[in-house]
Symmetry: C2
Subunit: 392 residues, 2 copies
Amino acid sequence: MMTRTVYADHAATTPVSEAALEAMTAFMKEHHGNPSGLHSSAQAAKKALEDARERIASAIGARKNEIHFTSNGSEADNWAVKGAAEIMKDKGRHVITSSVEHPAIIASCEHLREQGYEISYLPVDDNGEASVESLKEEMREDTVLVSVMMANNEIGTIQPIEDMAQLCKDNEVLFHTDAVQTVGHLPVDVNELQVDMLTMAGHKFGGPKGAAALYVRQGIKLPPLIHGGGQERGRRGGTENVAAILGMVVALEESIRGMSEADKRLRAMRDRLIEGVLSIEGAHLTGHPERRLPGSASFAFDGIEGESAALMLDYRGIQASTGSACSTGSLEASHVLTATGIPETLAHGSVRFSLGDGNNEEDIDHILEHMPVVVERLRSLSPLCNCGKKED
Amino acid sequence: MMTRTVYADHAATTPVSEAALEAMTAFMKEHHGNPSGLHSSAQAAKKALEDARERIASAIGARKNEIHFTSNGSEADNWAVKGAAEIMKDKGRHVITSSVEHPAIIASCEHLREQGYEISYLPVDDNGEASVESLKEEMREDTVLVSVMMANNEIGTIQPIEDMAQLCKDNEVLFHTDAVQTVGHLPVDVNELQVDMLTMAGHKFGGPKGAAALYVRQGIKLPPLIHGGGQERGRRGGTENVAAILGMVVALEESIRGMSEADKRLRAMRDRLIEGVLSIEGAHLTGHPERRLPGSASFAFDGIEGESAALMLDYRGIQASTGSACSTGSLEASHVLTATGIPETLAHGSVRFSLGDGNNEEDIDHILEHMPVVVERLRSLSPLCNCGKKED
C-alpha cells in the first residue's frame, strides 16, 4: 500500500536540515568546552555561542543582549509568562491571553491563576482570529501582561500582533508573542512588531530539537525560571547547548534566505490542497481562509474521527496530525477548534496538513488521491453516522 | 610552546563519545517525528524515547516511569527542589542543603527563601564533607526536603548520601541528590541509596549537552517546572530532544561497561598527579584525600591567582579550571572552598584538574612538568607575595 511517504506534519517538527546537522556534528566533533570556562576549548565554545546570539538577534532585528537561549519553546513561553507576571506583580495581577494558545502558554497562565492572578482569555471568531477590539475591552487598570501567539499551530491563523502590541505599549502593559510557528516562515522583526518578548524554537524551521530562544526587550529584567550559574547573563542556569544552538542559527539563516521562494511555493501547494480537499462532501476548512501560515491546510470532516483519519492516512504513507489527540485514553476535542465555534462532534474530525521544504506537487496529488478514500472508508465504518451524506 | 593538548576539565563537560555522536546523528538523519504525534514517524520517535527511558532506568536501578527527561542538570535540580517544596508546603517550609552545592541548588533554595521558606546550609569539614550528625541537628518538625549532592564538582568530595537518605526516610522528609558528577563514574543505584529524587546530566559522562534526567520515586507527584502539553506524563512541557536523549543513553551504557577499568586507571593517574603537585611548595590538596571522585585532583596554591594559573596552563596546552572565576569583573572566591575553611586568599589560588577517558599517563607527565613552572612564574610576577616561599 505504501508507495510514497509524504511528511505533512512540519508544524509539529521539521526534519533537521543537512546544513544544520553538519554544523552541529562538526562542532561536537571538534569542540567540547563548557562556555563558562576559561581555557581555549571553553572560550571557543563561548565564542561560537556569542556569535550565534549575534546572528539570531540580527535575524529578527534584535540586539544581541536581548536574545536568551532556552532548550525549547515551552521553556521560553513559561519563562516569559511567569517571569513577566513576577516582575509586574506590584502593579497588578491580571493577565490576558487568547483562547487558542499553545498548551505551554495556557498551562503557565493557569499556574498563575493558582498563585492568585486573574486570567482573561480573548475569544476568537470563526476563523480563529482574536480582535484588537476584544483586547481593548479586556484591558484593565491592573492588566500587566498580554500573551497572544503570532500564528496558530493547529489552524494556521495569523493574529493581528502589531496592533495588539501597539495597544499594550500605549497602556504600559507587557506584550509577549509565541512566534514558534512563524519565525523562519514569515518575516519577523521585533521592532516592527513592537513586542516586548518573543518565543522561537529551532525545530520548527529545520533546526534540531534542544535549541530555542526568548527575545526580551532591553530593560525588562526577567527573573530566572531555571536558577543557577551565571549563564545567559545570570538569567538562566544550565550549560548552553552550543551545538544545537549553532544548528538553529544555520537553519534560521537558511530559512530566511529561501523564505520568499518557499512562501510562494508553499502557498500554491497549500491552496491547491485546500481546494481539492474542500471538494470532498462534508469537509470544512478550519482557520482563516487568507490570513494563515503558508504551509498550513487544516480541516474538519463531518462524521469521522480525526485520530482514525490520521492513522489511516499514515497507512497510506501520509503523515498528518489531528487536533483530536487521544490523551489518557479519552478523546478530547481541541480547545482551538472549539474556540472557533465548531461543534464538538465536528472538532473531533479534524485533520491538519502542514507542508514544508520537503514537499512537492506530487505529495499534494498523493494526499488528494487518498483523502477522499479515507473519509469515505471511515464514514462507511461508522454505521450510525450520516453526516456529510446529504442524499442519505 | 603548545606541543600537546591535555583536556583536564571533564567535570565541566566531557567530549561527546563517538558512539553517542553516531547514535544522535543517525537518529536525526532518519527520524524527525515529534514523539507526541500519531503517525509512524512520530511513533518511531516515541518508541526510541521510551526505549531510552527504560535503559536509563535500568542503569540506575529505577523503574521506567520514574525517569523524567529534562534539558540539563540545572533544570532537573530546579525542578526537584522547587517541586518538592511545593508539594510539601502544607507540612512545612524548612529545607536543608549543604554549603557546597552546585549553583542550581543554592539559587533554587534562595528562590524558595524569597517565597517564605527557611533554608539551612549544612557545614562541611576541612575535606568538604557534610556529616549525618549535622543533618540530624538541623532536622526539624517542619523540615520537608533535604538536597545534598553525591559528589562535589570542584573538590571531588563524596558525601555520605546513603546515611543521609536513611535519616530522611526515617523522618518522612524527601531527599534529593544532585548526582551529576557521579552517574557514569561511580555505581549509582537509587534503591541502594534510598534517595527520592536524583539528577543526572548526559554531558558529564560522554553524552551530548541537551539531555539530562530527574529520577523521581514512584508516588511522588512533582508538579511541573515547565508547564505545557502531555509530555513526560504531563509533568514537563516541551518536545523531547530524542536524539540527545539517545546519545545520553548510549554514553551511559558505555560508561557503565567501562566503569571498573576506568575507575582503576583514573585513580592511578589522579594519585600520581596529586603526589606530584603536592611536592610543589605551598601546594595544598582541596577536598577529601580518599573519599573523592576517581578523576578529580584539585588544589589551592599559596600566592597565586587560580584564574591566571588556568590561563597560563592553557597557554601550555593544559585545559583545567579554577574555582576562582572572574564574574562581572570582580574576583569572587569559590563558596565551596571557603566552606571548607580555607582562607579566602588561598581559595583564590585554586586549580582543578578533572581527568577522563581521553587522558593518559603522558598527560600527567605534561601537567607535572608545567605546573611547577607556572606556579613559580606567577609568584615571581607578584612582587608583594612571599607565600609559599619558606626561605625568603
